[in-house]
Symmetry: C2
Subunit: 232 residues, 2 copies
Amino acid sequence: MSETTRLVEVRQRVLKHNDTVARALRARFRETGTYVVSLVSSPGSGKTAFLEDLLTRLRDRHRVAALVGDLATDNDARRLARSRVPVRQITTGTVCHLEAEMVASALEGWDLEGLDLLFIENVGNLVCPSTFDLGEDLRLVLFSVTEGEDKPLKYPTIFHTADVALITKTDLAEAVGFDAASAHRSIQSVRPGMEVFEVSAKTGAGMERWLDSLRSRLAASPSDRENYPASP
Amino acid sequence: MSETTRLVEVRQRVLKHNDTVARALRARFRETGTYVVSLVSSPGSGKTAFLEDLLTRLRDRHRVAALVGDLATDNDARRLARSRVPVRQITTGTVCHLEAEMVASALEGWDLEGLDLLFIENVGNLVCPSTFDLGEDLRLVLFSVTEGEDKPLKYPTIFHTADVALITKTDLAEAVGFDAASAHRSIQSVRPGMEVFEVSAKTGAGMERWLDSLRSRLAASPSDRENYPASP
């Protein structure tokens, strides 16, 4: 038990250090006018497919880029590269989440002033990423219709620490007998008032509605954006 | 960085302590002739549906029970209780995996000598559970056809530490365009020779083939089973 207490103490120091680095990152993003969106979800809930579609839709009107975290392989970075925006991979080894320092290192040498929007795809995990601030403006939690309507009840912390929920793979809703009302009830009981979007990266359903919301947030963000207007 | 080093050190002590408890558990299971199977997977890959079906198929010929780990809620335990075998919930709070000590506590007061088979469903997570021995005889890693064929490449450690892989939700294979050959290649490249079963708890496809394999393992296990024959 004393080992557990010690682990908790060390974890708290790690989190405190992470918060310091995240705060510096956030200040830097604000300065360069870069709006940062992170994505968390369990493995296989469709983060990469969603992000690939999103980057493709955004790239003509905004300067966008992405960082993608994985334990091993650069499969996701290679998939995202098909959207023809700058992408960098963060390989975490055995670490089950991204930390602010990993983001800071991955950004070395990047001209953030040239970026309107940066997406950070976290490692697929519904637990560990929740307590690590990455300096983002907006955190999205994704879960797919194939995962079960009670996911928010079973992983409440990740929903508490996210800003927006996205229900993905809605094209499979009928095949899996997805109960949308029950899923929405689960989300609202964990996080009352949470904004929820239903999307399918495969068919494109719901993507424009979500994009409108993202653009409104972008326009309302306090970043010093007038100096860095969106590309034509 | 020194915080990280300290975290690694404390984690190693926690793992060492876990190994000690797991060793004692394993000795106890052997003594009582209880064959123990643990299940790991990402959230939503169908562990509970698979286990509910499995328990129902086993209960007439074997004395079976289950422990189920979750961060919050006893939804899974209630689902498993429909199979009418003894089920206990382990609620981990914010901990992303089960530890041997949690299993030991959950078993307090249970008559293991009355059990042929004990299933332990881990928290939905493809990273954290991999390094925690629970004293099990067999570890199953599940991943569903909706999660992407490259899951084993992206989460190699969990495949390294598991004994058998189960591809679940095969009833959805066509709807998601699942490439079985590619999934099998991914598994074999991470863990050459790994035994793989394709199952659907919904249609029952593949369940009997997997069950035959489980029964062979059970028969071949070194547990002192002759004293505790399977119920008629």
